[in-house]
């Protein structure tokens, strides 16, 4: 079965017809040519496909494209303003927070959304005080909140540093 949907992807409105079995990730990559979001597992287990859907980070391989009709989607490509990189992207380059770069767009979208969550006061499993108004993002907090994004090149130590530096310019 096919269905017509409209998505706002990285600021551009896109209308397309999709097979109802198509995931948001495949719609982006195979139909719209937006390959910034990566497929690592197609299973919700690696985070490579992380995008922001209406402002929240999601694994786009677990979202059906039809369920995203009308939604705003932001990938790592959309975080940059052309060649002008987002501060988190700049920090990833500066700290060498990747090697192969395949998990990286997902890490970056995840980090940007995570910083927003922390600002809104969301606690994590390693937070001492679940009711605190302010979250202090130390290395343990960052590592915990970024653990949904696997990196087999294992750049974790640099990823945490890159994010830490953005929080304390």
């Amino acid at each position: 079965m096919e269905q017509k949907i409209t998505l706002r992807v990285d600021g551009k409105e896109r209308t397309l017809t999709v097979d109802t079995r198509t995931t948001l990730l495949d719609a982006l990559r195979e139909r719209l040519g937006v390959t910034s979001a990566k497929k690592g597992c197609d299973h919700g287990q690696c985070g490579a496909c992380t995008v922001m859907l209406d402002g929240r980070r999601v694994t786009s391989c677990l979202v059906l494209a039809v369920a995203g009709d009308g939604a705003e989607v932001v990938t790592a490509a959309g975080l940059a303003d052309g060649d002008d990189l987002h501060p988190v992207q700049k920090s990833f380059v500066a700290e060498d927070a990747f090697q192969c770069g395949y998990c990286t767009p997902g890490q970056i979208v995840s980090a940007v959304a995570m910083l927003r969550e922390a600002k809104e006061g969301w606690p994590s499993v390693v937070s001492d005080d679940l009711d605190a108004d302010r979250v202090v993002l130390d290395r343990a907090e960052i590592a915990e909140r970024m653990s949904g994004n696997l990196c087999r090149c294992a750049a974790y130590v640099n990823i945490v540093t890159a994010i830490e530096k953005v929080t304390r310019p």
Partner: protein, 756 residues
């Protein structure tokens, strides 16, 4: 040009603090944990590169990855992402038996599904002109040699349709009994032969080393020993799991045959595929500029290349896209073979080794005899007059194992370095002291000199930085908040080979711009940046005047990246091309004519390669915490000091070593693929079941280099950095866990049940 790092004696000053700020030894990433006894973090020292070269982006410059801005936007193009017109999608069908034959194929329902373009099975697949390699011999017969072997594929207009229709293909099998039991008491164990270069060359083991060696009289030596250790260690099947699944996009028309294919090298698979499909040389072009991780698993890229090309033949005029699923990767792209290792050590009253033996029994596939150099490190690591090593393999109905980061030594050094710790413990000796006492002057078996071996300095520097002197000698003496705390150490070594068969092109334009072209690969290791640095230094020009081109089989042939051989092989070749280009410019009286000057040269032979032993070294330190009640194990701190020769780029080298050490942590704590002994399949075949280290599993990891040039290895003076980071980490952690708990775990991974 003289500089501190061109001497052979590393001074403390010459040790790079490779860390960017924020990685000091006193950092406490693990909540309440406090760093144990570490000396205050040293201020980050300057990068000690030759000032002139470094400032011009030559060897030693701390350059950021040139493709970094592309990668952080997701704009680097990986294999599956190459834009092609109206692609068709191929979904592979995998066998559900481990041994036997396909007896019937019913594709009617699949072909009736709207959008399905074709079904490929052994009945209609193209007959290959050459199919001696299991890697390319897909769908050439009805034989099934392992569970999860490719037995067909569905090609359709959309991904969803291809995958759905794959479920409609009905295959029937005649199954044969399954034998997947790795045991040392099997009567059919055999000595590996002809495993070199994946069976292409006559050497016993994959890297050409002999299966067995001996010197002196091991039995008599052991009998004369005052202290003895005799222990058996086991390591399970492990899987590479690069984040980018193995993928290929094939276009086959009268004008072009192009394959975009994630690969550790483009030349070798291009040659294999050219032969398999009986093509004229150069007709097939294989392109792979960016690879989303490989770790050994993308050396077999001819396999998914073959399938994609077969698909493109079946649907003429349509490019075909193929990507394995995460689950399919567990059987199709190799694994680290399980091993059972027995290590025996005998020492005199002072701790000098008089006898060493290391015997390994490994699993391999009936489909292809892969045998790795698990015992190799024990041949060179320590001096002892009486010694032996042996390798035996069991041929089983399992998927084909292959090289995986640190092949051989990653598991072999877990055994040897655990046994050394056991010996030190028995004798009441400091484990570092025991190692330094047995440091050989020359290779203990061959008598050849080491080209450079600065293991002692690695230990001394590491001990100081880690705060080793504060460790509790007696196990199970430190605890805090219910956690038992210990520290462990281990040595690391990995050979630095040079692979033959690379060629490079160099060109200078009239305006003084240079182009260097070689079919090398960047699998995330930084080749785009580091090979350009080598080229700049070799040409004697700033790096921004050099354009590097790699990752395309239309460039001059290069060996594949693997075994920490990439920079040694490609860098040496690029140096030679630079030399030849300079000579050609001199022939033109130092002037570049309007059409420019070009040269293409092969890698030179160097007799010194046969006169010295080449290898990287390292000292690995670990702080380990084991929960007294639950057995949960955490590693809040790792520290490694490495002798990798001259460091080409401290930024990318540090990331490689950091990645290697994290792999070591991951293999120690998490990684194990379970094999179903009744049906011969891998059970936990996704990230839900096969755990790799996630961000929160990793604490502080410090990487330091001795930035000391190797005098003979290559013009750069650099040794391998890709594998050494993972070597010894497992032993350092297991030894630290013993120091914490008094429990010696000899079977990886170190799961909590083993401490209770």
């Amino acid at each position: 040009m003289t500089s501190p790092n061109e001497t052979n004696e590393p001074s403390r000053r010459a040790v790079l603090k490779a860390g960017v700020a924020g990685l000091g030894a006193t950092m406490v990433p693990f909540g309440a944990f406090e760093a144990l006894g570490a000396e205050p973090a040293q201020a980050a020292g300057p990068v000690t590169a030759p000032p002139a070269a470094a400032s011009r982006g030559g060897i030693g410059a701390a350059l950021k990855r040139v493709e970094g801005p592309l990668k952080v936007r997701g704009a680097a193009t990986y294999a599956f992402e190459w834009p092609v017109e109206k692609p068709a999608y191929l979904y592979p069908l995998l066998s559900t038996i481990a041994s036997g034959r396909v007896t019937s194929v019913d594709t009617r329902a699949a072909l009736a599904e709207p959008g399905v373009l074709g079904v490929l099975t052994h009945l209609n697949a193209p007959r290959l002109a050459w199919a001696d390699e299991p890697e390319v011999a897909l769908l050439q017969s009805d034989r099934v040699a392992y569970h999860g072997q490719i037995v067909g594929a569905v090609i359709a207009d959309g991904i969803e349709t291809a995958r759905y229709a794959a479920g409609l293909v009905k295959l029937e099998y005649a199954a044969e009994p399954v034998d997947v039991d790795l045991r040392t008491d099997r009567d059919d164990l055999r000595k590996p032969q002809h495993a070199q270069g994946f069976g292409q060359l006559p050497g016993d083991l994959m890297n050409g080393a002999p299966a067995d060696t001996s010197a002196g009289d091991f039995a008599a030596g052991l009998a004369s020993a005052v202290h003895r250790v005799d222990a058996t260690y086991t390591t399970p099947v492990q899987h590479h799991n690069p984040m980018e699944p193995h993928a290929a996009v094939a276009t086959w028309t009268d004008d072009e045959i192009t394959l975009y294919c994630g690969s550790q090298g483009v030349s070798t698979p291009q040659e294999l595929l050219t032969r398999a499909f009986g093509l004229e040389a150069g007709r097939l072009r294989l392109i792979s500029p960016y690879v989303g991780g490989a770790f050994g698993s993308k050396d077999f890229s001819a396999l998914w290349g073959t399938l994609a090309l077969m698909g493109a033949r079946l649907v003429p005029g349509r490019p075909v896209k193929l990507s394995f699923t995460r689950q399919q990767m567990f059987t199709l792209v190799g694994h680290r073979p399980a091993a059972i290792q027995r290590v025996r050590l005998g020492a005199d009253a002072r701790g000098r080794l008089v006898a060493i033996s290391h015997d390994a029994v490994q699993e391999t596939a009936k489909a292809k005899q892969y045998a790795e150099q698990t015992v190799q490190a024990s041949r060179s690591m320590y001096a002892a007059p009486n010694r032996r090593t042996s390798t035996r393999i069991a041929l089983l109905d399992v998927p084909i194992p292959t090289i995986m980061r640190g092949p051989g030594e990653a598991t072999g050094m877990f055994a040897l370095e655990s046994a050394m710790d056991e010996l030190a413990e028995k004798m009441g000796l400091d484990p570092i002291e025991l190692r330094l006492l047995n440091e050989p002057q020359t290779h203990p078996e061959t008598g050849q000199p080491f080209s450079s071996r600065h293991l002692k300095q690695c230990f001394e520097e590491g001990a100081r930085r880690f705060g080793w002197k504060n460790r509790a000698r007696k196990p199970r003496t430190r605890r805090k908040d219910g956690w038992l705390i210990g520290t462990g150490v281990a040595a690391a070594t990995y050979p630095s080979p040079r692979l033959p068969g690379s060629t490079a092109f160099a060109r200078v334009d009239r305006d003084g711009r240079y182009t260097v072209r070689i079919a090398a690969a960047d699998i995330g290791t930084g080749t785009w940046t580091t090979l350009a640095q080598i080229a700049a230094e070799a040409l004697g020009v700033p790096q921004n005047r050099v354009t590097l081109q790699i990752g395309d089989s239309s460039y001059p042939r290069a060996s594949s990246g693997g075994f920490s051989s990439g920079m040694n092989s490609w860098g040496t070749t690029v140096y030679e091309a630079a030399r030849a280009l300079h000579a050609a410019v001199d022939e033109h009286g130092g002037k570049v004519p309007p059409e420019g000057i070009e040269v293409t040269v092969g890698m030179p032979d160097d007799p010194r390669l046969r006169q010295y032993e080449f290898g990287s070294y390292g000292a690995q330190f670990a702080e380990v915490r084991v929960h007294e009640d639950t057995g949960e194990i955490r590693v809040p701190r790792l520290l490694g000091v490495f002798d990798v020769g001259r460091v080409i780029n401290p930024v990318t080298a540090r990331s490689q070593l950091l990645g290697g050490m994290t792999w070591g942590l991951s293999m120690t704590l998490h990684e194990e693929t379970a094999l179903d002994h009744r049906y011969g399949h891998f059970v936990n075949n996704d990230f839900g079941g096969y755990h790799i280290a996630a961000n929160a599993d990793v604490g502080s990891i410090e990487v330091h280099f001795l930035d000391v040039r190797d005098p003979h290895i290559n013009p750069m003076g650099s040794k391998g950095a890709g594998e050494i980071g993972i070597i010894g980490t497992a032993a350092a952690i297991a030894n630290g866990a013993y120091n914490a708990t008094g429990v010696r775990v000899r079977d990886l991974p170190l799961t909590l049940d083993k401490f209770l």
